[in-house]
């Protein structure tokens, strides 16, 4: 059964027309029925039922519960949440029960939302298909021979399968936008720092952001509005927009939209190219001023990303040493052996690969040639985005070079898998807000349009995205 808009669900719960307990049961039933898609690692059913009963009781008592009263949601399993383990789909965190919750989970709960389950991902967020999950691969809701994208593939599939009305993902280099494009839902990545990462398993700290997966731009904007803003537990957070993120004013009339020419070259699937060009024509027909924009360093962004991000991963994953939490080997004679054996068993192949690359590019003698050079090319890329935004309000292009690929198709070649990120990493490196809006299908598979705005222009981006959604 499909879900109503979030505001409708919350209104119905608050007014007593719908019970939060019934919504939680609807969600848990849908999760059980969709088990074969493997979108979910674990439910938080005991705690979810308790919270729903408490919310219903408070409403019966005449209390106002909040803007997300009784709304069930699903969190990617790299968010620290009470009621289930937090594993990040990794063996090394199996059995880890969070002693506190993510700031954004606390904020959603304080408005009455109820987390019902934890969704599958590529372990630690390392991947574009969920095939790097240490547990299992999530299947595409429309074609089970294909992947749902990643790394937030479980969250994206959950939204399309109607397991809950919205889900949280994370987006470090496209991990929310790319699965949204693959399965056909809205996937939002905010300006770097707009949402706190406190209580989220760290991947690459200079680009990690909280992603929102939803059935409409309007739903996403309410979730963003609840989560956004400074948090003293994450010193990289920035202030929220004084206009907030709800009550969107969708308009394309006179909006200057730049089409990124570098993303329409070799490597872009012909069907996707054709479809995105037609989509852009619709925006023009709706009154947008379309122009072509070139960012000459864009083709370098994937190389920058696959130096910077593994470097940060190797550093962030050093905390998994088998001593303070996580898997710890019983078979060690000294401390060094305990570290090494615990990590060898606990980490999957992709985590190891990225730790090794990161260790290499940060090691003495290679640091300047790789890491420092990548961070400097990153500056060049940031400057080119700034120049482009002097000409246009919003940049658009595809989200990924293809539609959803087959399970196993890219699994044997890590570099080929990395290429799935080629259009999403650049906004991440520049800290820009970006969104994937469903733009129809190519050969029966969903495809998204990516919209990108200047830093801190999240509100303007959501306004335009809502307008784009209404004309597609």
């Amino acid at each position: 059964m499909a879900w109503d808009a979030l505001t409708t669900i919350a209104d119905n719960v608050q007014s007593g027309r719908t019970k939060a307990t019934d919504l939680v049961e609807q969600s848990l039933k849908a999760i059980a029925e969709a088990d074969s898609f493997k979108a979910i690692i674990a439910t938080t059913e005991v705690r979810a039922r308790e919270r729903a009963a408490e919310i219903d009781a408070r409403i019966a008592n005449g209390e106002s519960v909040g803007r997300l009263a009784g709304v069930p949601f699903i969190a990617k399993d790299n968010f620290l949440v009470f009621g289930a383990e937090t594993t990040a789909a990794s063996n090394i965190l199996k059995g880890f029960n969070a002693p506190y919750q993510s700031t954004v989970i606390e904020r959603l709960e304080s408005e009455g939302a109820i987390c019902v389950a934890k969704a599958n991902l590529d372990a630690f967020g390392h991947g574009a298909s969920t095939e790097n999950s240490d547990f299992f691969t999530t299947l595409h809701p429309k074609d089970t021979s294909r992947v749902p994208g990643g790394s937030s593939g479980g969250s994206a599939a959950a939204v399309v399968l109607d397991l809950a009305p919205f889900a949280l993902g994370t987006d470090t280099g496209g991990s929310t936008r790319q699965p949204a494009s693959f399965v056909g839902c809205v996937g939002y990545k905010p300006t770097y720092g707009l949402m706190s990462r406190s209580g989220i398993v760290a991947m690459a700290s200079s680009t990690d952001t909280v992603g929102t997966l939803a059935r409409s731009v309007d739903d996403a904007s309410l979730v963003v509005d609840v989560m956004a803003g400074r948090d003293e537990l994450d010193s990289t957070t920035i202030n929220r927009d004084t206009n907030g993120y709800v009550g969107l004013k969708p308009s394309l009339k006179g909006k200057k939209i730049g089409v990124i020419s570098e993303w329409f070259g070799d490597g872009l699937d012909a069907g996707v190219k054709n479809h995105i060009e037609q989509t852009v024509a619709k925006l023009k027909a709706a009154g947008a001023e379309i122009s072509e924009v070139s960012l000459s360093s864009l083709p370098l962004s994937l190389a920058v990303y696959y130096i910077v991000v593994p470097a940060e991963i190797s550093s962030n994953l050093s905390r998994y040493d088998g001593q303070r939490f996580g898997y710890s080997t019983a078979d060690a004679n000294n401390l060094d052996e305990s570290y090494t054996k615990s990590r060898e068993v606990g980490f999957g192949k992709e985590a190891k690969r990225r730790i090794m690359i990161g260790t290499y590019v940060l090691s003495s003698g290679y640091y300047d040639a790789y890491y420092k050079q990548a961070q400097t090319v990153r500056t060049k890329l940031i400057n080119e985005f700034a120049a482009a935004f002097n000409q246009v309000d919003i940049l658009v292009g595809p989200v990924a070079p293809t539609t959803a690929f087959k399970v196993g198709e890219n699994a044997s070649d890590p570099l080929k898998m990395y290429l799935a990120d080629i259009m999403t990493v650049a906004p991440s490196l520049a800290g820009l807000p970006a969104i994937s809006v469903p733009a129809g299908e190519v050969n029966g598979l969903p495809v998204g349009l990516q919209l990108i705005a200047p830093q801190r222009e999240d509100r303007a981006l959501l306004d335009v995205a809502a307008a784009v959604e209404s004309v597609l």
Partner: protein
């Protein structure tokens, strides 16, 4: 062009505290070599006059008052995920000898 040898892989694994198998040594030297060759396209980029970026929103030195806050965490709850404890302390293997 980077070409990672068996010795390079073993050295990296040692630095990263990973215990790689023989099969992984072979696999990683091939894969890491091809990934590094891909990223080496950056070496020719002219970056004259540009500084590296590590923080994209321009924040510097975010501070807060240095004072004790009570978040309500029980010490024993925080120790629940520790593999081995003794007297409410984290117990590790001996480091010397």
């Amino acid at each position: 062009m980077a070409q990672l040898t068996r010795e390079d892989i073993l050295k990296l694994a040692q630095l990263a505290r990973l215990d790689v198998t023989e099969a992984e040594v072979e696999e990683f030297s091939n894969e890491l070599t091809s990934i590094l060759q891909y990223v080496e396209q950056l070496s020719d980029v002219d970056v004259t006059g540009l500084e590296p970026t590590s923080q994209v929103t321009g924040l510097t030195n975010v501070t807060r008052p240095d004072e004790i806050r009570d978040y309500g965490y029980e010490p024993l709850d925080l120790l629940k995920n520790v593999p081995t404890t003794e007297n409410n302390q984290i117990k590790v293997k001996r480091m010397i000898g």
